[in-house]
Symmetry: C2
Subunit: 342 residues, 2 copies
Amino acid sequence: MDTKKPFASKIGEFDLIAKYFAPLAAKCDGALSLLDDGAVLDIPTDESVVVTADCLLEGVHFLSDTSPKYIATRALGANLSDLAAMGAIPRWIFLSLQLPTNQNEQWVSQFATALGQMMEEYGVSLAGGDTVSTTGGAGITITAIGSIKKGSALKRSGAKPGDEIWVSGTLGDADLGLGLLKKIHSANSKDNESVNYLINRHYCPEPRIKLGKMLSQNAIASACIDISDGLLADLGHICTASNVCATINLGDIPLSNAAKKLFAGNMDTAQKSALSGGDDYELLFCSSPKNSEKIANLETKLPLCKIGIIGEKSSSDAQGVKLIGLDGNEMTIQNRGWEHLK
Amino acid sequence: MDTKKPFASKIGEFDLIAKYFAPLAAKCDGALSLLDDGAVLDIPTDESVVVTADCLLEGVHFLSDTSPKYIATRALGANLSDLAAMGAIPRWIFLSLQLPTNQNEQWVSQFATALGQMMEEYGVSLAGGDTVSTTGGAGITITAIGSIKKGSALKRSGAKPGDEIWVSGTLGDADLGLGLLKKIHSANSKDNESVNYLINRHYCPEPRIKLGKMLSQNAIASACIDISDGLLADLGHICTASNVCATINLGDIPLSNAAKKLFAGNMDTAQKSALSGGDDYELLFCSSPKNSEKIANLETKLPLCKIGIIGEKSSSDAQGVKLIGLDGNEMTIQNRGWEHLK
């Protein structure tokens, strides 16, 4: 097939859906083979439906030359991560795909293949959506639907003074990886393994579904959020929703070995990414100190690090997050994270 | 406020959501004031969740100078109509809004106001979504979630030979209205009332929620679809999903008084719109002849017209829809409707 020619003139919407997307819905009876007006979905009677929607646009959320494979993994990762943050089990996604008129079929094929592989990994089915052509850039809106036992969804609003603040995994990797891709950072060494590790953390987020489920089922987290806007911004969201403040220690924030190695001579950069870079999709949660043993016994291979403590809301700091530096003194915070309309 | 200046520089994403969209979620506890990662929604235990997603783009689905009010009504109308076609009761929507960087706040205000009014009318709450800025045109992706008693969702796949084919309301109006807006059609008279009627049918679709519910609850429809792609295309979808063919009579297809008056000297145009024009969002359904009395007794103010009959699948017509002209002879069909990628 000549994939250089405009794709839209060679295949129509219905054929496109049948060829690339209906197979991703094959295991879901309620998707009705994507041939109907909507999907009809059943969840267990003792569960609530958990829904989240996210839109990724070319030029805004991903570079124009990003491989369709990574656009798929980032779009799905961001959505499933929101379900993970509530402790929900993902079940279905709805995909609205805006396809540039000059896009080729190979792009769609690669996008659908990567999406399908990641959906399989996380046990979700495609259940519906929409495909439209556009003279603008590509756009991917995914609505992800999961479920959770009634009354047990994790929220941002339950943090209490005295709760300890935890994060999973390591922070800043995705932002450092993006910096390397954009050539804002130059790696200090020829350590390709570390470079690839960080870039992969940007391209292929791993939503922490299992951890979210364990935090919910074991009633560990009083509040939870996924770190998509950056640690300071997302902790700020918890403080706002819970009406508390938070103090975290710079020295306790976990950095990956790759970040430590590549930015050994420039730890400021790595720390800034860990504090303010988005898209790590690790979980940030609060938990009573009495849960320490429960947390230590969680069957997860992910490192879980205690980085600070929740306090009473203070009127002196509107955002509610204080950062203690390596010298034990409070640091000035200049960049709290990412807002989509700025 | 100076609304000529770029909007994005004056208000951030979180403020925008708080000011214009959180009020639309105020009645929905599970939306968590739009402050959380997702929404947590409960439906009655004897009901299934029905979900549909649609994307409307500037320049593709609406003209660039379309009032934000009508962009809202068309986007929501198209989505709720898909729920109507399955007999579901709409409950929540998720909105992903792509906002051009040079858009002003007045646009958002008008969009949100119109969306809120129509949501109120149909009893739905905003439960989540996403707002992103774009250098391209505006885009609106709505995922609508409804519910229906388990096992009673209307589908496209149940039509049987011998079933009668029915449509609600009148057809072609929205397409004629769009033609008037685009000045493809010139009205034959100064009948402003009729012109406005047709244009309003384009701008403000009325999803047939009550009718869909009655067709489902009274077990009337063997198959149902909303007419969004055009009568011939949508009847074709039913034929494909049900593995049947269909014969309809041009003379039985209901036209509005406005269409009849404005296109009196050019009935071909009105008929072509009724057959192939999209976006009327009337319901097309199939029903056994034994249900005639039930249909006649439905408490709806909408006209319901019998326009044809379902037959055994014939190998001679791949699309499965035959059109009988006013002279009783079969007509050649050249334009079956609208595919989004052509």
